[in-house]
Subunit: 584 residues, 2 copies
């Protein structure tokens, strides 16, 4: 075992070529062992074993600074920079994050989880080095999939202006999470097919020097190339061709499934997690496929994450031209959706909440100012969603619900979600976003309406008095439970309200509440600041109505335990009932 | 006069080449006449006269759909599509907007004012046409300056995937608002220098067909090229080289000054508007230049709008390497700022509020999750700022103040602004944004503090009782006036508070207010929903304190009269005093 003795990158500098190759085998074995039992990003890391070794062999981290894009491929970097324990010791698997993390190591420079940021972030390190007249290489490492994102393309365009040492490693495994989409991938293919010799070269077109590495899983070839560009005084792109999933056949054969994976049987590659229930992704794809059959104007759009709304490869094939993957280009996805709606067809853009952040201006300008009736389906906007600090999705309500003209709907059940989706697709007045519930697929115990065009009409699910609970989306279940608790413990039957709309107030209902109620509580599965409940508090500001807003405090959250976070934010029915007891 | 008789684009189809040229002369004369007396976008429109005529001569709008990027260059399009009155008749100059506007004409498809959106928006029209099996050309018209923005580059990358008629006219005048920055401009130059024949071709690299037009101000040459691509069944880029400012020598000689201009003397080109007072742009540039001399780690950053913080060409030259223009790439600007701060230098990114929207994810992820101490200076975030619907800048408080870790400061005076800027540049703990006041440059009548590192400590500017006025930034003056009015008319001396921080509450102060106050009013020069005041309302939700939030209702605003908007939103001291009278 080499890795047990590698505490810092220098420790591999004296290795022979043979030893480096053995080290690669060892690292690959650890990747397979950890991810097959623990889950994680898999195929991208398998492809980057040799390149990571070669980078640390040639460059001197942290004086030479490596910035990994999206950081789905940093496991090997972590192994070589003092964090091998996170792979060698099963009990310490969770001691390291799955992403680049400066708090863990001086060899990491940014906390990264969104794609397409590395070149622009690294360009700042270059500029700082120049201003401070320091030495050292700055190296951005970006995958071909990430290259199509706006920030990456901007960064690529800007790099040459720095006119100084700046090494951009393009890790071309001919794959995004799913297959690549975009014209630049034709150019990457041309370059691969011509051993980098084609005259028409995207990197040269934006002014970069260019080095091609045919076998990006060959350590010797990589070392030669990296030595060539080390201490370069000009921005240079090093295009390395790697095999995603290298060394584990099921991952090589099905690179999409093994991009990120739950634990699996290493012999067969079959997943160890069986999930029997319904999920909104699959339900959404199936609903849309049915609807597409009847209406050829319906088109589903993804920005590089087709699985978010259940469009696994077979279903993409079924949808045909009615499914568009723009690659990791959320800005274009929203603008295109606006254009499609303007053109009289019916676009549905499915997106993780955390990545919707990448397209704020397109939502505000391209879509909402133009009032085009496109539909956005927002997933994982919830405390029950993803919990890595870069993937937390519950800042969406402050972000988009305050954009004029947008209608943001918060369904509380499966039936309500599909009624809203159906309405949204068929209406032609409003840009609509729908916040998919994240507390499991729950059926409604109430009839749901089919027409949402009379905006901001809330639903009274239970009539009561004294206390009114306005419970949004995923938190409607918490509202129900709290209503029960209050009735049982305090002898008061509260009114329970499903507000449906996050983008406006039901003034008539709020006014009516004044006659029989003293307290309104709002429950939202989102950041409380700038959110829905504060609008209610503001509305009642000059009245005697007491308003208690419940939601998640504005702060960073990272790899949290849901129950702990809920408790810390007073988001259990017991705590809320106790609060009410104090006031009543 | 031809234009008086041109009511629709068909009206020029029968024109001879000679007549088209005469029409161009006539249109250019109208542009000079209107803009010299009225102000507006000038040099971009002068350059596009011939291309617009040729487009309408060859294509059949609105069946063929033209989407203009940023729409700084749509005046000629408006002249040919039934809106010549907006140029022929001085009394009707304001009857048309300065941007593409679907409400005005069926020949406009989107309301556009931000750059880099045309290709992605038009791609939606292409997709809708294909889904609906309709006919017609879709034409995106984009300037070279806009091409460097992330959304444009994403769109360019995505276009070829549509595999259908899609014509992208690249209007290359070798200029952004200021000079271009970015590697792709080297490629455009190479293509110009080789009459489009160079093998290394950015457009071909992303899979597009390519047509070069050497003289983009020659109608015959343009018509030939447009006829060549009309009804093309593949995406194609038509690279036309035009002269920005064509036909008006002062504008040809100083393309930056004449990009957008206030009224000027057409003989000399000298501006007719004299402005004697101070402005925050100039003050900021001068402050930074002084500071740069003493500290070579300070660097000012712009995303294609150097004038926003006063960096006119001479001052850019003085700043040298300490000034970076990344082109119209706000995403890269913020990520680079984060990287520069991480690298130990001191970045200051100056940006119009409306364009800050283009970089939400980079603020949240690249900057704030990483807690890097970069400074963003936000201009025109105010009802007193720009008033075109696409340029309104007062949605910033809901947008960024709810992002964890950001410190958003709202200075009330010149002294406070520079104290904050100085503190922010020198501190190394927080990502900071500063909201530059927009109600003129006002000197403080109170001493200002120099250290803002104890977060969320509000300033009590006047001690009083019963009513507390918390007045943010530009609206502090309104707060002062309201405090006077209340004292004079109602006999109550209010407490007046400058909250300084938009990103947190001063709990101690808010608690203390409870003892002597019954009413808190908040005044913010921004969208009220999701903003600052609603946090105060929420804080007092379960208390008897009455809270009145004043600000701007969430809605679209377009070319508004400030006083009318202020009145409609109850934002005069008289109205507020009257409201208080009702409650006291």
């Amino acid at each position: 075992m080499y890795l047990e003795n590698i505490k810092k990158p220098e420790d591999i500098k004296s290795f022979s070529s043979e030893q480096l190759k053995n080290l690669a085998d060892e690292m690959r074995e650890l990747l397979i062992k950890k991810v097959s039992t623990h889950g994680g990003h898999f195929a991208p890391n398998l492809g980057m074993v040799e390149a990571t070794i070669a980078l640390h062999y040639v460059f001197d981290s942290p004086k030479d600074k490596m910035v990994y894009d999206v950081s789905h491929q940093t496991y090997c970097h972590k192994m070589l920079t003092g964090r091998a324990y996170g792979f060698l010791d099963e009990n310490r698997y969770d001691d390291i994050t799955g992403y680049s993390c400066p708090e863990e190591s001086e060899h990491d420079f940014f906390t990264v989880g969104h794609t397409s940021t590395s070149i622009s972030l690294a360009s700042g390190l270059v500029k700082a080095r120049e201003l401070k007249k320091e030495q050292g290489n700055v190296i951005a490492i970006i995958g071909d999939g990430s290259l199509g994102g706006g920030e990456a393309l901007e960064g690529l365009n800007t790099a040459v202006e720095l006119d100084s040492n700046f090494i951009i490693i393009v890790n071309d495994n001919d794959m995004s999470i799913a297959e690549n989409h975009g014209g630049l991938y034709g150019n990457l293919k041309l370059l691969r097919d011509t051993d980098g010799k084609a005259e028409c070269n995207l990197f040269k077109a934006v002014g970069l020097d260019y080095v091609f590495v045919k076998n990006g899983n060959d350590i010797d070839e990589l070392i030669k190339a990296f030595n060539l560009v080390k201490d370069s005084t000009k921005p240079v792109a090093v295009h390395i061709c790697t095999q995603k999933g290298m060394g584990y056949k099921p991952a090589q054969d099905d690179r999409e499934t093994f991009h990120w994976t739950m634990p699996f049987d290493r012999e067969t590659g079959k997943t160890l997690m069986s999930f029997e229930g319904e999920d909104y992704g699959t339900l959404t794809a199936d609903y849309l496929l049915e609807k597409m059959k009847k209406d050829e104007k319906i088109v589903a759009i993804t920005a590089g994450t087709p699985a978010v709304m259940g469009f696994i490869p077979e279903k993409r094939k079924l949808a045909g031209k009615q499914f568009v993957d723009v690659g990791i280009s959320e800005e274009t996805a929203v603008a295109m959706a606006s254009g499609i709606a303007k053109g009289g067809a019916k676009p549905v853009f499915g997106v993780y909440s955390t990545f919707m952040q990448r397209t704020y201006d397109q939502i505000a300008q391209d879509l909402c100012i133009n009032k085009n009736p496109a539909t956005m389906v927002v997933f994982c906007a919830s405390v029950y969603g993803m919990s890595d600090v870069t993937h937390v999705g519950f800042y969406d309500i402050p972000m988009i619900s305050n954009i004029p003209e947008l209608v943001y709907l918060a369904p509380t059940s499966k039936e309500e979600y599909f009624a809203m989706l159906d309405w949204s697709i068929e209406q032609n007045k409003y840009p609509v976003a729908i916040r998919v519930p994240e507390n499991g697929v729950i059926s409604s115990d109430r009839p749901v309406k089919t027409d949402y065009s009379e905006l901001n009409k809330y639903e009274v699910a239970q009539e009561g008095s004294k206390v009114a609970i306005i419970a949004v989306g995923s938190f409607f279940e918490l509202g129900k439970k709290t209503a029960c608790d209050i009735q049982n413990k305090l002898g008061v039957k509260p009114t329970l309200i499903n507000p449906i709309y996050l983008t406006g107030l039901d003034i008539e209902l709020l006014e009516n509440l004044k006659t029989e109620h003293d307290i309104v509580i709002t429950l939202e599965d989102g950041c409380i600041e700038g959110g829905f409940g504060q609008k209610i508090a503001s509305y009642y500001g000059k009245d005697s109505m007491k308003v208690l807003n419940y939601g998640l405090k504005k702060q960073l959250y990272d790899r949290y335990d849901i129950d702990t976070v809920l408790k810390e934010n007073h988001l259990t029915s017991e705590q809320i009932t106790e609060d009410i007891k104090q006031i009543l």
